[in-house]
């Protein structure tokens, strides 16, 4: 078993909590994991990405080779497209469709959607709306995780367990909200894959 995942977004959008939840799930499943992330300069509204690798055998490289990623999880529609050179032909692009527009030449929404649909396996999801429905727009990254979870080779219960661990300190209400967001994201993928 091997899942090579690129996480993409803009500084401050919370891609690292997605990575942390998957990481906890992987550790709880006794899997090997390597997760590399970018700190520093890229936090000031620049693009950020993380390479997350999970396997039942030892992992060599911290970086995923180009053309080999099983999935790109992007919390922003343009950022996912930036890493297409990493995606394997059979890989999934799971992306939020809500733009983070902080540059003057940001592309038109229609053009982004056309490019996303040009990827054979894709899930384009309005994670912000679903998160709001689940109880808080802050949980949109967990909706994304839920949508992506369908393509992870890990039991869904392990990911739920990861969420409980990640948010446990913040109280039961927050945990329940995020579990709901997670499930709603997953259901979206089940309906739209």
């Amino acid at each position: 078993m091997k899942n090579d995942i690129i996480l993409a977004g803009v500084g401050g959008q919370g891609i690292l909590s997605i990575a942390a939840a998957i990481g906890l799930a992987a550790v709880n499943s006794n899997l090997y994991i390597k997760q590399s992330e970018v700190h520093g300069m890229s936090q000031r509204g620049g693009d950020v990405q993380s390479h997350l690798r999970i396997s039942d055998r030892p992992i060599a490289s911290d970086l995923i080779p180009a053309g080999k990623a099983d999935m790109i999880i992007s919390v922003e529609p343009m950022e996912g497209l930036r890493y297409l050179p990493f995606l394997a032909p059979t890989g999934w692009l799971v992306t939020n469709i809500n733009p983070f527009n902080n540059i003057p030449d940001y592309p038109a929404a229609d053009d982004l959607l056309t490019q996303i649909k040009a990827v054979k396996n894709h899930i384009a999801i309005d994670a912000d709306a679903i998160a709001k429905e689940a109880g808080s727009s802050k949980a949109s990254n967990i909706v994304m995780l839920g949508a992506a979870s369908l393509f992870l080779d890990m039991p869904f219960e392990k990911i739920e367990e990861g969420i409980r661990q990640l948010f446990g300190r913040k109280g039961d209400e927050v945990v329940q909200l995020n579990l709901k967001a997670l499930r709603m994201g997953r259901e979206f993928s089940e309906r739209n894959r």
């Binding site: 803009v10 500084g11 990481g23 550790v27 006794n30 899997l31 090997y32 994991i33 390597k34 997760q35 590399s36 992330e37 970018v38 700190h39 520093g40 300069m41 890229s42 936090q43 000031r44 509204g45 620049g46 693009d47 390479h51 030892p58 992992i59 060599a60 490289s61 911290d62 970086l63 080779p65 180009a66 053309g67 080999k68 990623a69 343009m78 950022e79 497209l81 930036r82 297409l84 050179p85 990493f86 995606l87 394997a88 032909p89 890989g91 902080n102 540059i103 030449d105 940001y106 592309p107 038109a108 053009d111 982004l112 490019q115 040009a118 990827v119």
Partner: protein, 538 residues
């Protein structure tokens, strides 16, 4: 896999390894990608219980020197900074190999090939070779932990500091790490020779001879080291030397991670001569894979390059600059390279920018306005968030060279006749290495205006404590800036006109002025409020 493993960044693995290995004090100045080493120790309950020293230093040189002092007193110390920090600490660092150590001393320098957040991609291994000490370069997080854990003993055994060299991917990648039993700290004890640390020429000459003699012991350590491994292969047409994490990029390309060629995996220097010779004799050609400069490649090739063919960064088999990855290595091996789809051309760059609401923004708006009548090209700046003032919409600064250079460059330009010359520097950068330059300017009464944009934090690296906080005015007075020309302002939109007027007044003054716009970094402010709230809830 064992569940008791911790999931740690390379930086955190080093910190935990040092704590478990008997660390008494860590000294550091923040810098990506090294910052999380100190931050981990600061956040560690275990470190607090063990009363390990864990405060930020004012710069890398003061950090290095304090660590030498702790080593003198017999205890184990660690110093951490980014690669360019080693330039600042270099005087102390090089001389520490001549004094030798008493308590074990590990210096961690974090390189940034591809310059993800740095102004160059210098390779710290040069410094290790320069000062003739062993270098440890982990290839994974477990090795990072182990090297820190056992590194103090290596340092004590060889009587020199040990350099640990990591790169961005090692520092900022997480993996499972197995801890070892916690070792006790050393007892306070003085060096057996009271003059060991007195580098008077006569003593230094003696110490230096000792260092030269101990080179063979260092080489022997490398030959025996478990971090250096000759892994035999069946295909003798090529032999491969990897250093540090380059090994991972190599084996990533083979099923089950089995490379058909013989591989020498080097993670401890000096490079093990015997293994290199064995590899050389055993194969037709060599390929050298190293993250950073082609240091090993140059050594093995030699000036005359008259032996077997050596491939690497120097002959174009690999790119001369930038970090490695599995695909670059595959190409060097002549293997097919996988590639996904191209990036659609609607995807645009998203450069970093100053946060909305950041005080530096107001400073640049005020300064640009005040400078209208003087023309552009006269603002020397420095390293920090405010360097982003170089980008649109501000286009406000003309230099960023090394920490502290704004004030001294402005002085040099003013000496040349560029008057007025302006320096823009952050608070942490000012105490790091701006103060001495300001003294130069005061002594000559140079016509410069220094803007110390004080956000009460070290913003760029994530908001660490700044040594400057609450001290800048007194420091400037102490250095000798005339109190009438030390102007504290608040960089807010509503103060724009007043601030422009103040800047203009000081630009007209024919001497040293210091303007201090003071407003806390909004990110640090938000974090502070959050943790205060958490504390009051507890």
């Amino acid at each position: 896999m064992n569940n008791s493993k911790l999931l740690l960044l390379g930086d955190e693995a080093i910190a935990q390894g040092a704590i478990d290995g008997g660390l008494s004090g860590i000294y550091a100045y923040p810098g990506t990608p090294s910052t999380e080493i100190m931050e981990y120790v600061q956040g560690s309950k275990q470190a607090a219980e063990l009363n390990i020293h864990r405060q930020w230093s004012t710069n890398e040189k003061t950090a290095m020197e304090a660590a030498i002092g702790m080593s003198y007193a017999g205890k184990r110390a660690m110093v951490c900074f980014k690669h360019v920090g080693l330039n600042v600490a270099a005087d102390a660092f090089i001389n520490a190999s001549i004094t030798g150590v008493n308590g074990g001393l590990i210096v961690v320098s974090a390189d940034d090939p591809s310059m993800h957040s740095s102004q160059n991609e210098q390779d710290s291994r040069f410094y290790g070779k320069f000062s003739m000490i062993p270098i440890l370069e982990p290839s994974n997080q477990q090795e990072a932990y182990d090297m820190a854990y056992f590194g103090f003993e290596l340092s004590e055994r060889l009587n020199v500091p040990v350099l640990m060299r990591i790169t961005t991917r090692m520092a900022h990648s997480r993996a499972g790490v197995q801890r070892r039993e916690v070792k006790p700290q050393n007892q306070l004890h003085l060096p057996s020779d009271p003059r060991q640390f007195v580098l008077l020429p006569a003593i230094a000459r003696k110490n230096y001879k000792k260092l030269l003699v101990s080179q063979s012991a260092m080489e022997l350590e490398s030959e025996k080291s478990a971090y250096n491994q000759l892994i035999p292969g069946t295909d003798k047409s090529l032999g491969i030397i990897t250093t540090g994490i380059a090994y991972n990029y190599l084996i990533e390309n083979y099923p089950d991670h089995k490379c058909p060629y013989t591989v020498l995996k080097v993670c401890q220097y000096p490079i093990p001569r015997k293994q290199v010779t064995d590899l050389y004799n055993d194969c037709e050609k060599l390929l050298i894979l190293e993250e950073g400069y082609p240091i090993v490649e140059e050594m093995i090739k030699g000036f005359l390059n008259i032996g077997k063919t050596i491939h690497g960064r120097l002959d174009g088999t690999l790119p001369r600059d930038g970090e490695l990855n599995p695909n670059i290595v595959a190409k060097a091996l002549g293997m097919p390279v996988t590639e996904g789809q191209l990036v659609p051309n609607i995807v645009k760059n998203r450069p970093p920018s100053l946060c909305q609401g950041c005080g530096h923004r107001d400073v640049y708006e005020d300064l640009n306005e005040a400078l209208k009548e003087y023309g552009t090209g006269r603002v020397f700046s420095d390293i920090g968030c405010y360097t982003l003032g170089a980008l649109p919409p501000f286009n406000a600064i003309n230099s960023c060279v090394d920490m502290g250079a704004s004030i001294t460059m402005a002085k040099g330009a003013a000496d040349a006749g560029l008057v007025p010359a302006i320096a823009v520097i952050g608070d942490s950068t000012f105490t790091h290495s701006g103060m001495t330059g300001l003294l130069d300017a005061v002594i000559e009464n140079s016509p410069i205006t220094v803007i110390i944009s004080d956000n009460s934090t070290t913003g760029m690296t994530g908001g660490q404590h700044s040594s400057a906080t609450g001290r800048i005015v007194e420091i400037c007075k102490g250095i000798g800036v005339h109190p009438d020309h030390i102007r504290v302002v608040t960089p807010l939109k509503k103060n724009h006109e007043e601030n422009v007027k103040i800047i203009k007044e000081e630009l007209e003054y024919n001497g040293v002025s210091v303007i201090i716009p003071q407003r806390e970094c909004i990110q640090t402010f938000a974090r502070r409020k959050k943790s205060e709230k958490k504390e009051s809830n507890e």
